[in-house]
Symmetry: C2
Subunit: 423 residues, 2 copies
């Protein structure tokens, strides 16, 4: 199959079928007056095709302000396909085509890109994750189970020495993975090079002393040339992970990092709400994560179950699973590692594992570690115990009866209401 397909949830004052034609036309051969050069042969070769239409409802008012008006606004899903001939396997032009001017069409009073299928040529032409879960485990010295991580907090404000001191506390607690906050990149108060030097010294001393390799995701987010210099610096200090704020650098920035990286790429999705927050405009995570994986992200943030933000658990579940689903219909699967974070405690490990069916995920907790009554070290142990219970299919409360750290954590952290729904 040499066609790219995209599914949109749309609403229209001119009806879903007519709106689908406008969308397909605008995003391929069309213009507002059909020109002489638009021959039948050209249309046959290059026009986008409507593959499927499903009407899902009607409302009396438009969901978004709309230049065109109607007596009613019909809603439905439409699937449209394009030939590979139109733009090949270019990811930026894929975006310009499937997620370009169409969001502004006056014939649409709602438009979300909710699904996308790519021919195997994309999986072959793009590098994909260089390391994935197995490579991450190798960097950690053969780590088993989910990777237990945390984030440097306060988000911004610590200088390099203060950051290194906090890292010392966290590695002493037995953590596997630490990440910079997305707000902390290379500010005057905490320059990247000084932070890398100080933190790397702590990580190395810890490895020399205990044999344990801790992965630190340094936030290299910056202009392309600077990100490449940051990668060089990290390599010199034995770095194993580079974090990139994907929306802040853009798709080609992520791909440029992948081209020069000898370490895992930790994909942070700051700004994601622009795409996800409205039910009436945007792009779904299952679509966007395919682009990020093709461009080379090894780890992808998916939010956490019962998080402090707005996404519902069913969305988190879908997002996490999507990252472990083959990226194209054929070709290399390019599986990445989902990263859970935001208000996570021992309670979320079992459901987070359950929906994936494996331990190939990173589980980041902040207060969920630091607020353990017996300290951060017990906080990390409790999370590992919760992960072991989940892996062995033992009820967490039953398992806690033999494991004091988990028992204390269960008493400390209140049980969230998690509703993953039908999976």
């Amino acid at each position: 199959m040499n066609r790219i397909t995209a599914t949109y949830d749309i609403e229209s004052p001119v009806g879903v079928a007519r709106a689908a034609q406008v969308l397909a036309g605008e995003q391929s051969t069309g213009t507002f007056t059909r020109l002489a050069a638009e021959t039948d042969a050209l249309r046959e070769r290059s026009a986008a095709r409507i593959e499927n239409i499903q009407i899902t409802g009607t409302s009396a008012t438009p969901s978004l302000p709309c230049r065109k008006t109607g007596d009613s606004y019909e809603r439905g899903t439409v699937t449209i396909s394009w030939s590979l001939e139109n733009f090949g396997t270019s990811l930026p032009t894929l975006l310009s085509t499937l997620a370009g001017n169409l969001f502004e069409l006056a014939e649409l009073s709602a438009v979300r890109l909710i699904d996308m299928h790519l021919p195997g040529a994309f999986a072959l032409d793009h590098p994909g994750p260089q390391f994935g879960a197995q490579g991450t485990r190798d960097f950690l010295g053969g780590h088993k189970g989910p990777v237990i991580g945390t984030i440097i907090k306060p988000s911004v404000g610590l200088n390099p020495s203060e950051t290194a001191a906090l890292v010392q506390t966290l590695v002493d607690a037995g953590i596997d993975f630490i990440k910079d906050d997305e707000l902390q990149a290379n500010g005057p108060h905490c320059p990247f090079d000084k932070r890398v030097a100080k933190v790397s010294r702590v990580l190395k001393a810890h490895a020399d002393k205990t044999g344990k390799q801790v992965m630190y995701a340094f936030n290299i987010t910056d202009e392309i040339d600077q990100m490449w210099r940051n990668l060089d610096l990290l390599e010199k200090h034995g770095g194993t992970c580079a974090m990139v704020c994907m929306n802040s650098v853009g798709l080609t920035g992520l791909r440029a990092v992948r081209e020069r990286s000898s370490m895992t790429i930790h994909g942070h999705r700051a700004g994601w709400g622009i795409y996800s927050r409205s039910p009436d405009v945007g792009i779904s995570f299952p679509v966007m994560q395919k682009l990020w994986r093709l461009a080379g992200a090894d780890h992808l943030h998916v939010n956490g179950l019962a998080n402090k933000f707005t996404e519902e658990d069913s969305v988190i579940a879908q997002s996490a699973k999507s990252v472990q689903t083959p990226v194209c219909d054929t070709g290399p699967a390019h599986i990445a590692m989902p990263v859970y974070s935001s208000g996570q405690t021992i309670w979320q490990i079992d459901p987070a594992r359950c929906l994936l069916g494996n331990d190939d995920f990173i589980f980041c907790a902040g207060g969920g570690i630091m607020s353990h009554p017996a300290g951060a070290g017990a906080g990390v142990i409790a999370l590992r115990q919760a992960a072991e219970a989940a892996r062995r299919g033992i009820d967490i409360q039953e398992f806690a009866s033999q494991h004091s750290e988990l028992k204390a954590a269960l008493k400390t952290f209140s049980r969230p209401d998690i509703r993953v729904g039908h999976s």
Copy 2:
């Protein structure tokens, strides 16, 4: 003033004042439990400050789905400031901070970034447009008046020879500027290198014969390395303009093009609807265009008055003017050239010029040129006549009485209803 300020239009179930605190906390020192390391000194140095709050209304229901609920949802604008110490003048980290996780906060049932002020350090640390309006005129051989342009249509489907044949027709018609469609970059059916070779030959022959330099914006949108190779190729063929789909390549991709470009950068905003379409989430054009100008765009698409999309004329007017306003409070102004397009005819030239007060804009028409009853050549002449009338402050109908091409155009194209509003 060494602080960055951002203004948001927000709605909240916990009240605007409380929501502003959450937003400021989340985007600077905060976390969901205040940690020991978050000292008063650190907060004083790094915490974002609330500078202003204005309540604008209240509604009984949330504008967007929201995890937190309230008896009512208060709406207002809040202005928040950050110290340059937090992240310096990095554009990607500016985005991660001002337009990062905040869009997902459960305390916000609507959140749009509507204004941003940057200290002069940004204007000094970033290249800005290399050529702007004057440089564009120089490439055109000293062109006066607005630059009259058009877009290759059908959007996609013509091969390199067919594209070159259409370019011949357009240069024969006397056009100043031609651009690729955003859907046409480097597809198998119309490879970039072959298109550049064929089109450049037409442009050169035309210049040799008539002395007129026509600018062609070749769509170089691709991965970084490939965009750089595309620039090299264009330079070899005497190219004067490279078009970039800014949302498809991302901010760092645009900046990477600027670093290597010897020609004007034509900034296309395909995908803009994701940021603009909802009144309840997103980023305004006056904010985003500052980032694009700092990164180096010479030309910026602003849609057109009475366009075929959804933006209202008052938004277009604000967008066009913003591009010609100094980018920071001090330092180099980094003015870019607004590009009007979408359903444009002789009717839109006067109001488009009027709101700027100058001719430093590109005016793209498709049907507005090709559908002139006396042909494309007369179509271009009619647009120049309309521009002259606008510049001289003469009513278009009166001016048409002495100018037959304009007269015919006025009869052919129906007069749109334009409502720029208070300027």
